[in-house]
Every structure is written in structure tokens, then in C-alpha cells.
């Protein structure tokens, strides 16, 4: 088994069209849940030049002005009007209204037998993962790539670098020795440059990015870039234009940076744009919750939890996990404890993680923050709690 290797993960900033579509889709989810927490909603979004396509299927009491919501999100990203103008773009929306199903009820106070009557409506196998690379128990490569992306956005918002466009990508290569991260092998940043009159030179871009982006990210990091770390910035030259004017976007095309940066398996389904009753979203959060608590309990160095759901069943038809040999006790035993303390039925996930109430309890904006801030690893997310570690440990 190869234990020394380099692993790369990549991420994009909030102004990347794919990420933008994710954010818009989740803003629509928030829009519905804000008015009616029992809403069932699936929203998808695609973007090309100055046309935005929205498709929403919903059963809800809420009335949501989706195009307006989308425009607000786009405006918040802050493209230059010549790249993408929120007010002037055309929004084509497709609305399919459905009647509410028995699934679309308030879950907060449901009893066990009631939960049993709520079956999933989609078939999916979802994964959750956690490992000891970082304090938040995420794989180091994606954690760094996401942090770089967020720092790029922050830098732009603070207006530290005048020419930085909202559409950038990052990639981090981490060298593993004996299955543990040992040094930073490479950092690649591709940034969009906005025309500010005098185009910045390469040297200036590199200096700015080191100063405002790379250094802050690695300031308190245990592993920092060393002299041999290859730092590449805009290998194809500075991009004059960026954002939706140059490339199109679509919901659910950045699932690897949404999850574990391909370090662990993830379900191919998009997380964004789906309401709480979608098991492919709720399940992924529950699986992460489980995996993180196992690692936090000290039962293993890393853990991947797999949940499989079939239409018509209230809970998973299969619950499996692997610690890849890092478990301090047998994987079978871990699973036994897991099943004892975690309820993976759809209704229980929604109830326990409060998926219906999150929007309202976060001033009407919860899900739309996930694409940019990270679905996993960020503070304050209910599935990032380690409150069940104690139960699992004994």
C-alpha cells in the first residue's frame, strides 16, 4: 500500500459561475423556508453570459420572487457591470408547483412512530468523512483550498487588491508521508484580473497574493509552505475577463470542493438547491455528523460512513463505515455504537439537525451561506457538533 504521496484538492471563490449557481439555488431554498418551514423545494440554476435559468419544483405556502432573489445574490457577489449585470440580466424561470406530500410537515416534535411513517422519496448512497488533519477534522488539502478561496473573496471584499475579480480558483497539493500530511507541495491560484486602467504585472500579482492571501491563510497553520513549495499564479497568464461573461455555470458542478476535495468518496448529487426533505442532502450532513463524532470520540484517525437509501423506506437500507485500519476498536463495534446513538431515518435527521428551522433561526439566510463558507468544516453548523462523541466513546 502506498503511504507516501501528494494529494491535491481544488476550490473556487463565490464569484465562480458554478458556485454562484449553487448560492442562488440555496438562496431560493432559504426563500421558501423563511416563509414556510415545511416547504418542499428543489431548485436548479444555470448561467450563461447574461441569461440565468432557474428551475424550481416546490410544494409550499410561500410565494418567492425567485428572479429577484437571484439578482440580489448576484449583486452581492459584486461583478463589474460589464462582466455581469444583476439588474440587466434576463432570468428565465420554470416553476412546477406540486401539492404537499405527507413528508412536508413540521418535524420538530415528531414522535418515533410518526417518523417511521415518513419514507424517503429519492434513492441515493451518501458518504460522510472525517479525519485528524485539521482541528475541524477535515482533510487538509480541501481545507486549505477552501480557505484560500475564502481569503481571496475576503481580500476582494476588503478591497485590498483593486484588480481582483470575484471569480478565482485555488488548488493545494499536500505531501503525505506515512498517510499523514507532512508539507505543502504546491499552491496554484488562478485569479481573474479586472481592468483597472493599468494592468498589474506578474510580479505585483504574485506579491499581492502572497501578502494578502497566502500568508494570512498559513499564519497559524502547523504546516506552512516551505522553500520548495511550488507556488503558481495564473499559469495561463492574467485573465482579462472573468465571471459569467467567459464561462457558464451550473448548480452541482462543484460537489468535490463542497465535500472532501475527493479525499474521500462523495455522492455525486448536488447538495445545493435542495430542501430539508431531500435525503441526498440531509443524508450527507447526517453521515458527516456521524463520521466526525467517531473521530472526535477517539475511536479512529479517520472514518468514512456510508448510508444507502431506497425509495419507500424511512431509514437507510444499509449503514456501513470504514476507518481504513485506523480504528482503536473493531469497525463492527464502531458501527454497533453508531447505530445505537444515531438515528438515520429521514425524519429523525431533519428533526435532530433542525434542518427546517435553520433558515428562520439564522435571520432568513442559512443555506445560501454554505456554498461559499463550506458545507463541512465551518463553525456553527449543526452537523459539525461533536456532542455525541462522548456517547460513542463508551
Amino acid at each position: 500500500m502506498i503511504t507516501d504521496f501528494v494529494f491535491t484538492s481544488q476550490s473556487v471563490t463565490e464569484g465562480h459561475p458554478d458556485r454562484l449557481c449553487d448560492t442562488i439555488s440555496d438562496a431560493i431554498v432559504d426563500g421558501f423556508l423563511r416563509q414556510d418551514q415545511t416547504s418542499a423545494i428543489t431548485a436548479e440554476c444555470a448561467l450563461s453570459k447574461n441569461v440565468l435559468f432557474l428551475a424550481a419544483r416546490f410544494a409550499s405556502e410561500a410565494i418567492v420572487d425567485m428572479p429577484e432573489l437571484a439578482r440580489t445574490v448576484i449583486k452581492g457577489v459584486g461583478y463589474r457591470p460589464e462582466d455581469f449585470d444583476a439588474a440587466e440580466c434576463t432570468v428565465v424561470s420554470s416553476h412546477i408547483e406540486q401539492t404537499k406530500s405527507p413528508r412536508d410537515i413540521v418535524f420538530a416534535d415528531l414522535e418515533d412512530d410518526q417518523i417511521d411513517r415518513i419514507s424517503v422519496a429519492h434513492q441515493t448512497t451518501v458518504f460522510g468523512y472525517a479525519c485528524r488533519h485539521t482541528p475541524e477534522l477535515m482533510p487538509l488539502p480541501i481545507s486549505l483550498a477552501n480557505r484560500l478561496a475564502r481569503q481571496l473573496s475576503q481580500t476582494r471584499r476588503d478591497a485590498d487588491i483593486a484588480y481582483l475579480s470575484p471569480d478565482c480558483t485555488s488548488q493545494v497539493g499536500v505531501e503525505f508521508v506515512n498517510d499523514g500530511p507532512s508539507r505543502i507541495d504546491s499552491i496554484t491560484l488562478v485569479i481573474g484580473c479586472e481592468d483597472t486602467g493599468s494592468p498589474p504585472g506578474f510580479a505585483r500579482i504574485e506579491e499581492d497574493l502572497r501578502h494578502y492571501v497566502i500568508n494570512p491563510v498559513f499564519k497559524n497553520a502547523p504546516i506552512k509552505p516551505d522553500n520548495l513549495t511550488r507556488i503558481t499564479i495564473n499559469p495561463n497568464g492574467p485573465y482579462r475577463r472573468s465571471g459569467p461573461a467567459t464561462h457558464s455555470g451550473m448548480t452541482g458542478r462543484k460537489t468535490d470542493s463542497d465535500t472532501y476535495g475527493s479525499f474521500a468518496r462523495h455522492c455525486g448529487a448536488a447538495l445545493s438547491g435542495k430542501g430539508p426533505s431531500r435525503i441526498d442532502r440531509a443524508g450527507a450532513y447526517a453521515a458527516r455528523y456521524a463520521a466526525k463524532n467517531i473521530v472526535a470520540a477517539g475511536l479512529a484517525e479517520q472514518c468514512e460512513v456510508q448510508l444507502s437509501y431506497s425509495i419507500g423506506f424511512p431509514g437507510p437500507v444499509s449503514v456501513c463505515l470504514t476507518t481504513k485500519g485506523t480504528g482503536v476498536i473493531d469497525d463492527m463495534e464502531i458501527r454497533k455504537r453508531l447505530l445505537r446513538h444515531f438515528d438515520f431515518r429521514l425524519g429523525a435527521i431533519i428533526r435532530d439537525l433542525k434542518l427546517q428551522e435553520l433558515t428562520q433561526s439564522h435571520c432568513g439566510a442559512f443555506y445560501q451561506k454554505l456554498p461559499a463558507n463550506g458545507h463541512f468544516g465551518a463553525d456553527g453548523l449543526p452537523w459539525e457538533r461533536t456532542d455525541k462523541a462522548g456517547l460513542l466513546a463508551c
Binding site: 447574461n50 439588474a87 440587466e88 434576463t90 424561470s93 412546477i96
Partner: protein, 1010 residues
């Protein structure tokens, strides 16, 4: 001296900045500078050394003036300063490039005697009036606070022309008449007439010429009647305006308003010209004729716009054609007549062109083809005859008779008459057709674009819900409802009576004969009246003492009224959240109680819900106190919420369903935001069957979208939201680009170009503006969109009927050709002689064809999808069918001919019997042509056509007369007919009908198109 400039300004009478991008210099084009050394020297010397100008250099060849100044002064104001200096010096306005593009292009219209003034007037100066301060505007126009003097006004009127919009050109009678002769079949007949005249066939010539004349006269009369009908609709604009002249307020005729006139604006006034506001007090204007925006727009004379400010946002301007809905003000007219925004739009309308209608194309094509075809056949019959050794003159006569028989010269007449009769029928059903071809276009409409405001809705606000803390009441046209029960509102909830009182008192609207007030206030007053308030009594009983209007920092209105007992009643209405803030108490079923936090929350949630449901919501509160100002604002009593909307007309959802059933897609166009549009779209069922997605295209800037992209997007869209009326043209064009036949409704001035570009422009009669009505193809006189269904049914039926007539004409004419062909091929005596051919033509062509054109609509006409506009009215498979049917008829006639020839030998008798048989078979064939879907065997399921029965009866009678009446018999050279012959003739005539109908039935059963 400076008049030199204005003398040379034929091409241009304004200054134009050529270049001002470089610091320290500006280049301006000065009209009249060309080769004018005097002006050049003058300008240079006058400008040099003034206010920081370093150098002024005028070029007499390029007419450009270059002014250089210290670059350090280039703070952005310098170019403007110089511009102003030049304006003063030259007395000409400076126009930016953008505005000069907007300038209506002046077409060089050849002078007509009727309107000699057309090209004589000076063009009016164009400026970005909304960017100029009021005093500058007055200076430019040399107006004053006293208004123009009568003298100045007269001078300006002679200088700039009367304040009238150019009228749409009308076709003259001669043009209509001549147009009737411009068709290929008529030309063919003309040639035949000439030939037969040359060969001495005077009788034939007379017959042919009279056929042509009859057709043309019918066409002329019907088309002219249609034009007259439209022109008789009348004008709607008021005829006078109120202005200040010589310091006196006076009423003058609308066309006498001149630039510089001071307009007096009061509620209800029609704004007679584009004008810059000089004073205003809470002025609001209904600009819907111009912008389609149904809510009144607030105007303010203090506002200053920028160059790019959109028309609807120019708060310091009022525009011709709009009306004052509230407040008052003064404005100075800056543009009149053709130079107003409405005038410009009218010119734009002149430019958008209407596509040629499908049937025009088809009938033209077919006329040409058939003329060619029958010429070919005639020539070959003639040639074969000559080869067979027949005499030349006889063959010439036969060929010409055949030509007359073969050309469906009845076709244009039948088509025109059918269309014209259709127009009359539609007029009876309140559908006014403005363009003759529109009738058949109606039948092929695939998409209908519906304007929400005014078409689907009534374009007036109505209260639809009253929400107190005690009850939730729905207001419908039929009354007040609580749940599903109709109720008396005052019995259900004690808070409603004070609520209604507030709505009456805190309200400036009147519902007298001349309604005034904003739509919102009118709606509020109406609901109070419906609830049983006596407005006049209440207002008299509690006279207003003080009114605080809504203002920027006060989103509510308060009025204080004296009560009979000496106390004071304060009525408050306004933005719910703010009004709620002012309340300490609330009324629960009439009892005043504390307004707890929970109750506040209930109110706010209710407000949010109503808002999300696309309603306009107001909060209502009151207070009674001992002193006039005693109502400390925070001590009001909350009454409830009032929700209003521009309600849908009744029956619209059913109408949309009918369109869908008829295979017509519906598209709603609205300026609303998309959530409102969605809820309306859902109620209308625009997505068709439940569960299908409802697609909305939401864009305030459709012009930014590439037309081909838009064409790709429109396919599925059921709603366009946040669209301004100016974008309708783009939507129509995009739909047409995607291959659709589009109908568009609209009644605003701005709708003009879209109505014209649409295949069918529809406007509602009573409300449509002149521009809309003049370009529309269809006017629904009863103001009811439901009538559109009638229009489409009639349109389809008429097209069907023309098809039936055509089918009949072609198949019967073909049978004549076939008989004649067989005759020459067989040799020997002719089966039919020329006079018989002309006779058949006379009695079997026009009348049955006309009667078929009057066939009532088939039962399933609105359940079929619209026909393919590209499909020919007679397709290739139809030709095969025509040949089949005509051969069967021919076979019948030839059968009789064979029988008779065997019995009597070749000669007059056999020809006579074939002639009789052929004529009757053709007459009976008309019944076959009544439908492509049903046959004579399903007589019950199809409506009767009495015209056809009479026409066939009459024709049969004439045919019998021909056989029985000696003079006619002589002319047609007919032989005797015995009883046995009669049976043979009837068999020869009847069997083809049975066979043809049987084939139709068989094909239908095996699923072939018949």
C-alpha cells in the same frame, strides 16, 4: 449679426459637440459656418480671451469650431460653460449626440395639395429638457410667468405648425379598386377576352368581361365597406386644453397649443403637449398610454434628470397623451405635435412593417400556377385538335371556352367575398377587422400575447380583502365573504364600521360623475360604499379640519375631523408597519383593547402574506380625542389591513383554457415582478394542464439580450415579467423568429410598433388609444377579450370555407378539362360545345362556391390545432384528391355519354346527356366539399347550410330550364331527353357523389387523411 447662423441652417439648426474627450479643448459643429468668413472672424474674436478661453479657431470648410482653454480649468464644467457661451452667442441649442439620434427622421414627403403645410414648418428645437432647470427652459423658449401673448402664440403656430399628430395614411378608393385587378387569373381572363374578341366572339368576350367586372366590384365594395367601418370608429382625444396666455387662464383648442405655452394641470386634465414642470403640488400623472405603467407616476418640478434618464423616470416632465390623476401644477410646453414623445412613437410605427399574410401569398401563387396550367392545357387541346384536323376557328373557340371554364376566376371573388362577409359577421359579433387579410390570419394564430394590465385586468384597483384582528373578509364583486359565506360585514366585525369611516374620510377621491383621485383612493371609497357608508353624509357630518398627506418621511396620511359632540376624529391610513407603530390599542370586534406584542406580530405576518400575494396593502387606524391635535400619534387604535389589486376580469381563466384547447399558446406580458406574475399566471392556468411547469422570463432589459438568444428562449415561456411595453416589439419579433404566428394585444401608445409587427395586432375598442387602434388588425369593440375566441373561430371557419370553395371550384373545373381532353383524344364530334362550357361555368362556379363560403363553422373548429401557416391551402396530396374526385365525376359523365352514344349514335343527343349529367354531378359535388372530416352520411352531426341548398336548387332549376326552355335550348344546342335518359343522367350525377363520400368514409376509418 448672429442671424447669419440661422440663415444657413437648412440642414441643422443646433450645435453639436464633435469632440470633447481631450482635456483643454472642445470641438463643436456650428451650422452656417461653412464658407462664411464673416461668421468665422466674428466667432473667433468674440470668444478669444473670454473666461479662460485661450484660442478659438473656426474652420469654414468643416464648419467646426475648436475652442482651447487652460487644461487646468478642465474640471468637467469648462466644456459645459463653453457650450452655454456658444448657445448665448449663436442663439442655437446645443444637442448631445444621443438626443439627436432620437430626433424623428423627416421623410421627404412629396407635397400634396391637401396638406401643403407638411414640409414648410421649422423643426422644433430638441433639448434634453429634463436635465435643464425650469428657469433655463423658460429662457430658451422665451416664455414668461404670464404665458405667451396671443401674438407670440400665433407666430409660433405658423412657425412650428399645429399641435396635431400626423394621421395614418388611408387608401384611396381608386387604389382599392385597382388592387382588385392585380391578380394572375384576372390577367388570364383578360387575355382570353382579347383573343375571343379578335376571333369575333363578341358574346364570349362580353361574358368574360362581365365575370371580371362582377368579381372586381364585389371585391371593391367589400374592402371599401371594411375601411369605412374602421374609419367610422371615431376619435377619442379631447379637443381643448387649458393654458395661460397674456396672464389669463383660458381654454384653447388642442391644436393651438404652441411651444412655450404655459399649461395648467389639474386632476383629470389631458396633457396637450410635452412640457417641463415649473410648479407642482403632489402632482401625479397616469402615463399608461405612453409607458403602460398602470399606477400613477409622481411628478416633481424640482427634480433634475441626467442625459440617460429613462422616459418614465423624468419626474420634471409631463408628456402629451397622458392625464393628470392627482394634484396640480404648471408646465411649459416644450414640444408639440410630431415632436412629442407620442409623435415620435407614431413615426416609429410607420417604420415597423407587417409581414405579408400567408393566404395572400398562397392565393397569388395558386392563381399564377393555375393560370399557367390551364394555359398549357388549352394550348395542348388546341394543338391536338388542329393535329386531328379540326377547323382552326372552332378549335380556338373551344380552347378559349375551356380556358374560361378551367381558370377558377371565381376564386379571388369567392375569397374576397368570403373574407368580407366574414368581416360583416364578425362586426355583428363585435369584432372589427381593420385589415382584410387579418381574417384568415386569425385562423392561423399560434401564440397570443396578452397584456396583463388592461387586457386581462380591468386596469383599476379594487379592494379584495379586509383583515382585522377579529375577522378575515374577502371582497368580491358579488359582495363580502367570510369563509365561503356571504355576509354583512358590519355584523361580523365591529371594527369594520370605523374602518370604513376612516377609508371615506381619509380620502380625497370622489365618485361623482367625474371621478377624481388616485386608483387606490377610488378603490377604498368604493369598498366603503359597498359596505353601506353614505359618503356625502359622512363627509358633511365630519368636516375635515386638517390633512397631513403622505410625504417622504411620513408614509401615511392623517386627516382630522370635527365630530358633532365637539370631539375630534383622526383618520389614518398608510404603510401598515408604520401605522401599526403609531398604535397603542386595537379594535377587536369593536371593543378597544391593548395591542399586545402577539397581536402586533399577527398583523405584521398578515401584512407579509398579503404583500407576498401581490396585493397592495394599507393599514388603517383612528382615534377620537378632545382636542384637534390631541391625538398623540402613538395613541391610535388599530383597525385592520386593506388589500387591493388590479383584479382580473371575470372568465379569463376559462378563456385561457379555451385558447389552449384550440392549440393556441398564451403568453402574458406584465411589468409586475415575477412573484406577482406567477400568482396571476397560476390563477389563469397559463401553464395549461396542472403540473406542467410555468416558465417566466424576467427581464427589465430585454434589449440587452441578443435577438437570436431571445428567440431561443421564448419557445416555452408563458410569462414575461418586469417587461416594459417598449419590449413587446422584441417579444413579438422573437416569437416570429421562432416560427410562430403571433397575435398581440395592447392599447397603449407604446404598443403601436408591437401591434403592427404582430401577425394579428389586437386592441380593445373603447380603451385603445388612437395609435393602437390605427395600427391594430383587429379591434374588439365590446372591450372584452372573450370576443377574441369568436374572432378566432370565425377566422378558422372562413379559411376552411375558402378551402371548401377552392376545393369545389378546382375539382369541378378539372372534370370539365378531363371531359374535353377525352373528347379531343377520342376525336370525332366534341362532347361539349363552347357555349355549354361557358354555361356550366356560369351556373356551377359562382353560386355553389359562394354558398360553400357561407358554411357555418364545423363543430370541432376550436378543438383542432391552428393550421400550419406554411402549408399550402391546396397541398400536393390535395391535388391527388382533386384529380381522383374529378375523374370520378368525369367517369360518370362519360358513362352517360357512352350510354347515349350507343343508343343514339354520335351527335347532339350524346353531348346533351353528358352535359346534363356533368352539370348535376358538379352541383352535387358541392355537398362533398362541405367538410374534409364528415360526410353526407353523418348529416346529423353537422350544421345545415341553407344557402347551399338554395344555391344548388336554383342552379338545378336553371339547368332544367336550359333543357326545357326553347330559346336557351337553342343557344346551348341541346337535344331531347327521354325518361330513360333522365334516369341515366341522374345515375351519372348521383353515383360520383356516393362514391366520393364512400371513399372519404373509408379513408377516415383507416386513418388516412381524406
Amino acid at each position: 449679426m448672429m442671424n447669419a447662423a440661422t440663415q444657413h441652417n437648412n440642414a441643422q439648426n443646433y450645435l453639436q459637440i464633435v469632440h470633447d474627450r481631450v482635456a483643454g479643448r472642445i470641438r463643436v459643429k456650428v451650422p452656417g459656418l461653412y464658407r462664411n468668413e464673416r461668421l468665422c472672424a466674428n466667432l473667433e474674436s468674440r470668444l478669444a480671451g473670454r473666461d479662460g478661453i485661450r484660442l478659438a479657431h473656426a474652420n469654414t470648410l468643416t464648419s467646426n469650431l475648436l475652442v482651447e482653454y487652460a487644461a487646468s480649468l478642465d474640471t468637467g464644467e469648462m466644456p459645459q460653460h463653453i457650450a452655454r457661451l456658444l448657445e448665448q452667442e449663436l442663439g442655437l441649442p446645443l444637442v448631445s449626440d444621443i438626443e439627436s439620434i432620437d430626433r424623428p427622421t423627416r421623410k421627404r414627403v412629396p407635397r400634396k395639395r391637401r396638406r401643403p403645410e407638411a414640409t414648410q414648418y421649422q423643426e422644433q428645437p430638441l433639448r434634453l429638457w429634463h436635465t435643464l432647470s425650469g428657469t433655463r427652459v423658460v429662457d430658451f423658449l422665451q416664455g414668461s410667468k404670464q404665458g405667451l401673448t396671443e401674438e407670440m402664440a400665433a407666430q409660433r403656430l405658423s412657425q412650428y405648425g399645429a399641435n396635431v399628430l400626423s394621421e395614418q395614411a388611408r387608401r384611396s378608393s381608386w387604389q382599392i379598386f385597382l388592387a382588385q385587378f392585380m391578380s394572375a387569373p384576372v390577367a388570364m381572363l383578360g387575355v382570353s377576352a382579347a383573343v375571343s374578341l379578335a376571333t369575333g366572339g363578341v358574346a364570349d368576350t362580353a361574358v368574360i368581361v362581365s365575370v371580371v367586372m362582377v368579381n372586381s366590384v364585389i371585391g371593391y365594395v367589400t374592402e371599401r365597406t371594411a375601411e369605412k367601418t374602421i374609419n367610422a370608429l371615431g376619435q377619442l382625444t379631447p379637443e381643448s386644453a387649458i393654458v395661460i396666455r397674456d396672464g389669463k387662464t383660458q381654454e384653447i383648442p388642442l391644436p393651438d397649443v404652441a411651444p412655450g405655452d404655459l399649461l395648467v394641470l389639474s386632476p383629470g386634465a389631458y396633457i396637450p403637449a410635452d412640457a417641463r414642470l415649473l410648479a407642482s403640488h403632489r402632482l401625479t400623472v397616469d402615463e399608461s398610454p405612453l409607458t403602460g405603467e398602470s399606477l400613477p407616476v409622481a411628478k416633481n418640478h424640482e427634480y433634475l434628470g441626467e442625459e440617460g434618464t429613462a422616459l418614465g423616470d423624468r419626474q420634471n416632465m409631463v408628456y402629451m397623451g397622458t392625464t393628470v390623476s392627482g394634484g396640480d401644477g404648471r408646465a411649459i410646453a416644450v414640444a408639440t405635435g410630431r415632436y412629442t414623445e407620442i409623435g415620435k412613437i407614431q413615426q416609429l410605427v410607420g417604420e415597423a412593417k407587417a409581414p405579408e399574410t400567408p393566404m395572400q401569398k398562397q392565393i397569388d401563387d395558386m392563381g399564377r400556377q393555375l393560370a399557367l396550367l390551364s394555359s398549357g392545357i388549352c394550348v395542348s387541346v388546341f394543338a391536338i385538335g388542329l393535329l386531328r384536323g379540326r377547323p382552326l376557328t372552332q378549335m380556338l373557340m373551344s380552347a378559349i371556352s375551356l380556358a374560361v371554364a378551367a381558370v377558377p376566376e371565381g376564386l379571388p371573388a369567392v375569397a374576397t367575398t368570403t373574407l368580407a362577409l366574414g368581416i360583416r359577421e364578425m362586426k355583428r359579433r363585435k369584432v372589427l377587422i381593420r385589415q382584410l387579410p387579418a381574417v384568415e390570419n386569425l385562423g392561423s394564430v399560434q401564440v397570443i400575447c396578452l397584456d396583463k394590465t388592461g387586457t386581462l385586468t380591468l386596469n383599476q384597483m379594487s379592494v379584495v380583502t379586509l383583515q382585522t384582528l377579529h375577522a378575515d373578509i374577502k371582497v368580491k364583486p358579488q359582495g363580502f365573504y367570510h369563509g365561503n359565506a356571504k355576509i354583512d360585514p358590519y355584523r361580523i366585525d365591529g371594527a369594520l364600521q370605523p374602518m370604513m369611516e376612516v377609508l371615506v374620510l381619509c380620502n380625497e377621491a370622489t365618485l361623482a360623475e367625474k371621478e377624481t383621485g388616485s386608483p387606490t383612493e377610488k378603490a377604498l371609497l368604493q369598498v366603503a360604499i359597498d359596505a353601506g357608508e353614505d359618503v356625502q353624509f359622512l363627509r358633511k357630518d365630519r368636516p375635515p379640519l386638517k390633512v397631513d398627506y403622505r410625504a417622504e418621511d411620513r408614509p401615511y396620511m392623517i386627516s382630522v375631523h370635527a365630530l358633532a359632540d365637539g370631539r375630534f376624529f383622526s383618520a389614518v391610513k398608510g404603510s401598515p408597519a408604520e401605522v401599526l407603530e403609531l398604535c397603542q390599542k386595537c379594535s377587536i370586534d369593536g371593543r378597544v383593547e391593548d395591542l399586545s406584542e402577539d397581536r402586533r406580530k399577527t398583523v405584521l405576518t398578515g401584512n407579509e402574506r398579503l404583500g407576498a400575494d401581490a396585493l397592495r396593502v394599507l393599514g388603517v387606524a383612528y382615534c377620537i380625542s378632545g382636542e384637534a391635535d390631541g391625538c398623540k400619534r402613538r395613541e391610535l387604535t388599530w383597525l385592520g389591513l386593506v388589500g387591493m389589486e388590479d383584479v382580473l376580469r371575470p372568465g379569463m381563466a376559462e378563456l385561457v383554457a379555451e385558447f389552449h384547447q384550440a392549440g393556441i399558446e398564451t403568453v402574458m406580458i406584465t411589468g409586475d415582478q415575477s412573484s406577482t406574475a406567477y400568482s396571476v399566471g397560476k390563477r389563469l392556468g397559463l401553464n395549461g394542464v396542472q403540473g406542467k411547469s410555468l416558465e417566466i422570463i424576467d427581464s427589465g432589459h430585454l434589449e440587452k439580450l441578443d435577438p437570436s438568444v431571445l428567440a431561443g428562449l421564448v419557445g416555452q415561456a408563458a410569462i414575461f415579467s418586469r417587461v416594459s411595453p417598449a419590449h413587446k416589439l422584441r417579444i413579438v419579433e422573437a416569437l416570429q423568429r421562432s416560427g410562430k404566428v403571433v397575435a398581440m394585444t395592447g392599447d397603449g401608445v407604446n404598443d403601436g410598433p408591437a401591434l403592427k409587427a404582430a401577425n394579428i395586432g389586437v386592441t380593445l375598442g373603447e380603451k385603445g388609444t388612437d395609435v393602437a387602434r390605427s395600427v391594430a388588425d383587429v379591434i374588439l369593440a365590446d372591450d372584452d377579450l372573450q370576443t377574441m375566441v369568436t374572432a378566432i373561430r370565425e377566422g378558422r371557419a372562413i379559411y376552411d370555407n375558402i378551402g371548401k370553395s377552392l376545393h369545389f371550384l378546382l375539382s369541378t373545373n378539372l372534370s370539365e378539362i378531363e371531359v374535353m381532353l377525352v373528347s379531343v383524344v377520342l376525336g370525332g364530334a366534341e362532347i361539349l360545345n363552347p357555349m355549354q362550357l361557358l354555361w356550366i361555368n356560369l351556373i356551377t362556379d359562382i353560386f355553389p362556391a359562394l354558398a360553400l363560403a357561407l358554411d357555418p363553422p364545423e363543430a370541432d373548429v376550436l378543438k383542432r390545432p391552428p393550421r400550419d401557416p406554411n402549408a399550402a391551402i391546396v397541398s400536393r396530396s390535395d391535388y391527388a384528391k382533386l384529380i381522383r374526385e374529378s375523374s370520378i365525376i368525369t367517369a360518370g359523365a362519360l358513362g352517360v355519354y357512352g350510354y347515349s352514344r350507343l343508343r343514339y349514335g354520335p351527335g347532339q343527343n350524346a353531348g346533351t346527356h353528358a352535359f346534363m349529367s356533368l352539370t348535376f354531378a358538379q352541383l352535387l359535388h358541392a355537398y362533398r366539399c362541405r367538410s374534409e372530416h364528415s360526410s353526407i352520411f353523418d348529416a346529423k352531426s353537422r350544421p345545415a347550410n341553407r344557402y347551399l341548398d338554395s344555391a344548388i336548387g336554383l342552379s338545378a332549376l336553371m339547368q332544367a330550364l336550359a333543357a326545357a326552355w326553347p330559346p336557351l335550348r337553342g343557344l346551348l344546342r341541346l337535344g331531347p331527353i327521354t325518361a330513360a335518359d333522365m334516369i341515366a343522367i341522374l345515375a351519372g350525377a348521383g353515383l360520383p357523389l356516393l362514391v366520393n363520400e364512400a371513399i372519404k368514409g373509408i379513408n377516415k376509418n383507416i386513418g388516412l387523411s381524406t
